[in-house]
Symmetry: C2
Subunit: 332 residues, 2 copies
DNA sequence: CCAAACTATGATAGCGCTAACAGGTGTGGT
DNA sequence: ACCACACCTGTTAGCGCTATCATAGTTTGG
């Protein structure tokens, strides 16, 4: 930077100002400086900038898995929105393990993020206290937690799943099975299960057919392996609601291999409205969630938080609702 | 840090040393310091550390899209491997646009990454020169470029696709169509198309049935829309090779909707061996690539590069091959 | 027993940038 | 002519760490 300053005949401070777009520099000086910047191929050091200004320019985002189109869309939308304000995203993947989340947060806090975005799946006590102690604003997404840390951009997985089950009850189904996860305390998966079971109980229908098949995420592959177990234990099952679309697709394909008519003999539903659910034959009934909107709105919220900080105030707890609506398709 | 030092009765420098695991500090001093660190909940500032030590601890990774299980797996494996050495990944998604890659690289270089990983899809002249000027080591993945920037961890998309086509020719197919991307200069997609066409020409088969359907990535949805166009233009087609598995799946489902027997009437093949290809009914013929291995080996290479740097030398250009093998399944 | 070598710790000086304030110049109002 | 004010630029002093060298204490070996 001092090289640039010398050649442009100004002080380093003026170079620094010329490189921002809201600093008071005369038009001609800025142009002269930027010309030298281009000539020299000077690349400002944002670590140093962050240290001096106490603004790292980072936002930490924790998702359970990268390998999930939904979280990818959310992160993508968030990344793009924050980029408009010069913020960069640091991604961590927890693999659905709260302990891993804790460890990742500890690492991330060293980067002095300006905000933390957490995909709700329960947090350890240590995670909560680390975040609180750091004073960094937090946004929880993809759920409306009972005990939110601070801001929320999400929907009730329980209510959404309940509403799906209710529609299927209305459609005449009576013998439900739920294919879900094991190890799912305080997760979105357990909320979905709870929602389905609540609907069944409210309609006086049997609610005992719950298969806790494997730790999250349940893959397509595991969906294919779960079907025989369901058929064996509860041959009277009329419809299987799966914790998410990929395992619903696995169940569907296994039905096809076994020549079980869907929905004639067995109906299948998922959760999330992944692209595959609309494409597969038959198309899969599911709950549609706008994953991109979650990322976008979380990003907008973070910009609001920063704007408030500039004015010296802390934004009140926000809770931004996201729509999650059942979509009945051919598979039911 | 100076608070910790004062309470532990040592100098800040000793605290700094105690927090690393290879620095010369007596066991008892380190324990005393770490105890105070825990008591105070002190979190070291890695921006400051990076500035002082000239090691940011960042590795930049560019992928075309996050919303692609393959790149997600590659990034995941890379992230985990680098984490073992305390390195953190900065992810950028180019959306398959070289100009966007250029813009992202410019941003990323401000973070002073210790290495750059690029998923090959062609680079602008400016990208190449920025990277060269920065002196940061580069690893290109998912392809073996003709003009590599430096290191490579990948395979020949051309050869892999050619080998798939050859197997299908051996299996008796004669009338091939290729469903690929538009705007695909210097991309993995164009290499795959070239490989297929080379196989056809070598076998004296017609190579004119090439549909450049849309800019990458071609989605499942677009696969369903491409099928009618292929059938209309070239009704004699016996097999469609798709640039990647998702669009092959789209083609397959559209065949099912139109009651076109696969593979009886039309065969379908993809590229990449996504989970869906092994699960769908019929299972889809494809080229299997170990996406995680690419991430893992790229990570190991980066650790080698750093180890060499410590010894004051620059690692010779490495080119680490990845296997990509055709897998014939039910769809052909 | 003493030089040489090694270990643990401290003091000093930055890393590359920006916040905060100081100062100089020009403009317009009175 | 003077003051108030806006506008632009420079000076100074860090941000929170670590590299490097210095130093004191301890061990080793001939």
């Amino acid at each position: 930077m001092s090289d640039v300053a010398r050649i442009a005949g100004v002080s380093p401070m003026t170079v620094s100002r010329a490189l921002r777009n809201n600093a008071p520099v005369s038009r001609e000086t800025r142009e002269r400086v930027l010309k030298v910047v281009r000539q020299l191929g000077y690349v400002p050091d944002q670590l140093a900038s962050g240290l001096a200004s106490q603004r790292s320019g980072f936002v930490t985002v924790m998702v359970p898995s990268l390998n999930n189109p939904h979280f990818a869309e959310t992160v993508g939308a968030l990344t793009d929105l924050l980029a408009t304000a010069g913020l960069q995203v640091l991604i961590g993947h927890t693999e659905y393990q709260p302990e891993r989340e804790e460890q990742l947060i500890a690492t991330m806090l060293r980067r002095r993020p300006e905000a933390i975005v957490l995909t709700y799946d329960g947090h350890t006590r240590a995670t909560r206290s680390m975040i609180e102690a750091s004073g960094v604003p937090v946004v929880e997404i993809w759920e409306t937690p009972r005990r939110p840390l601070e801001h929320v951009v999400g929907f009730s997985n329980r209510d959404a799943a309940r509403s799906l089950a209710e529609k299927l009850i209305d459609a005449g189904f009576r013998q439900f099975a739920f294919l879900g996860e094991s190890d799912d305390k305080d997760t979105r998966g357990s909320a979905r299960r709870a929602g389905v079971l609540a609907a069944l109980r409210a309609a006086d229908l049997p609610d005992h057919r719950v298969l806790a098949f494997a730790p999250p995420p349940i893959t397509m592959q595991q969906g294919t392996r779960a079907l025989p177990e369901i058929l064996e234990r509860w041959p009277e099952t009329e419809v299987v609601i799966c914790v998410s679309d990929p395992c619903a697709f696995g169940v569907l394909t296994e039905c096809q291999r076994r020549r079980i008519a869907v929905p004639g003999k067995l109906a299948v539903a998922g959760f999330g409205d992944f692209e595959i659910s609309g494409i597969s034959v038959p198309a899969i009934t599911t709950v549609a969630v706008d994953a991109q909107a979650i990322g976008r709105k979380a990003g907008e919220l973070i910009l609001d938080i920063r704007a408030a900080e500039m004015r010296g105030v802390r934004l009140d707890r926000q809770s931004i609702p996201i729509h999650a609506v059942p979509v009945l398709r051919e598979s039911t």
